[in-house]
Symmetry: C2
Subunit: 245 residues, 2 copies
């Protein structure tokens, strides 16, 4: 299964070679999602490398989000990330289900709150405080993967809090309020998950995250939703495919 160090004929550092071997086994499904990895001692015996080398390889895989440590019980293969294509229109509940996974949404709170100027500016002239703020947690296969904070103008969706928001919010805005999105602006940046967000997701503060900010407009240019999603980095993969016209 593993090359031993004596067979090493490349200039690649040992830890990287072990990292690649484990990554390949995950890719190939030999080590499947949720599976427990052999112990560090086992790897040490198999490849004959120093324990430090094994630990380096595992910490590299952890940094890439391919494996995670559960308490003191060892290393596990991270669940496969879902693919999100910002050039497609489908929402979370749809694209997660399309990938054969189980999506779920839980509304944590809906409040009416005074927003800072930077948020008001996004909504444009004439928008007045306070605005709605909807905090939701979303999970895939029962694992929390994102916490989102959605800002909505109550003038466009009065009484929104009375509706069930544990599904597609765009659906409610469309079906109940007649608000149809015709333009999406999506911005993404890597971040660290800290404090409240990390707590909601059950991860260690400082865990790599991906912040996805989506501003949805209707045909009249009004902001329908301003959504800030904090994802566990290893739960999402962005993919865009582009061909010359």
């Amino acid at each position: 299964m593993f090359q031993t160090d004596s067979e090493n004929d490349s200039a690649e550092p040992h830890y990287l070679r072990l990292r690649n071997q484990i990554a390949n086994e995950i890719e190939a499904g030999i080590l499947s999602s949720g599976a427990r990895l052999p112990s560090e001692r086992k790897y040490h015996e198999l490849i004959g490398s120093a324990r430090g080398t094994v630990r380096e390889a595992l910490s590299q895989l952890e940094a890439e989000g391919l494996i995670y440590r559960k308490d003191r019980s060892g290393w596990y293969v991270s669940p496969k990330p879902v693919t999100y294509d910002p050039t497609r229109w489908s929402g979370f509940m749809t694209y997660v289900a399309e990938q054969g996974r189980l999506p779920a949404t839980e509304t944590l709170q809906v409040k009416t709150e005074k927003q800072p100027p930077a948020i008001l500016d996004i909504f444009g002239k004439g928008v007045r405080n306070p605005l709605y703020r909807v905090e939701r947690r979303r999970s895939i296969d029962e694992r929390p993967v994102l916490v989102e904070d959605i800002t909505i103008n109550p003038a466009l969706a009065p009484g929104l809090a009375r509706h069930n928001l544990n599904g597609s919010l765009s659906g409610v805005l469309r079906d109940v309020y007649g608000l149809v999105v015709t333009r999406n602006h999506v911005e993404m940046r890597a971040c660290a998950l800290v404090r409240h967000t990390a707590e909601c997701l059950g991860v260690k503060s400082g865990t790599p995250g991906l912040l996805v900010i989506r501003t949805s407009y209707d045909a009249r240019g009004r902001v329908i939703e301003y959504d800030q999603e904090y994802w566990c980095a290893n739960a999402i993969r962005i993919e865009v495919d582009l061909t010359v016209a």
Copy 2:
């Protein structure tokens, strides 16, 4: 400039309010790129909050990549990130310059190396080891922002190492070897920058990063470049704008 705690009329935690105020000043350019922030003690005096609250606000801003700590000399505003739109075709040297910034590329090494099966699979049937591997470091306004590892099939670009690769590699492949890219597949995920990569970029191991993997194909479906870019998370912002047809 700052509200004091006594004026606080919102349920927002104090640290978040301070975080928002500082973020707004950065957004508005009151605190400009590279500027040093007032000291923690100064903030403490200005807003009358506990020192712990000030530190919480600053660590939140650090996690978001808006500020960074320089040794012991204090907190500084991070340079503005460049915007990368994966639905556009322009390369690093072009889109960075278009944003009024100074791009530079430095080739760290070019080697001929045996690749693992996972990489060979990307290149498809008939591709034989070893392949070229080009490691480059790219900077914006003289700050290193990404390290990339590019794999190229030597059968398509024999003698590539003899060319100057400190500019647009796609340009060399097109002009010297007649290889024209017609399809790009871009994949992105958040990661942590560790070890070698962190060292090359001069950041602390564990710093948030963004891994951008781009596979470029020509019209015959051959892989022209397989590029893995490790970005400092706070140097790049992904933006996609999408309108219903």
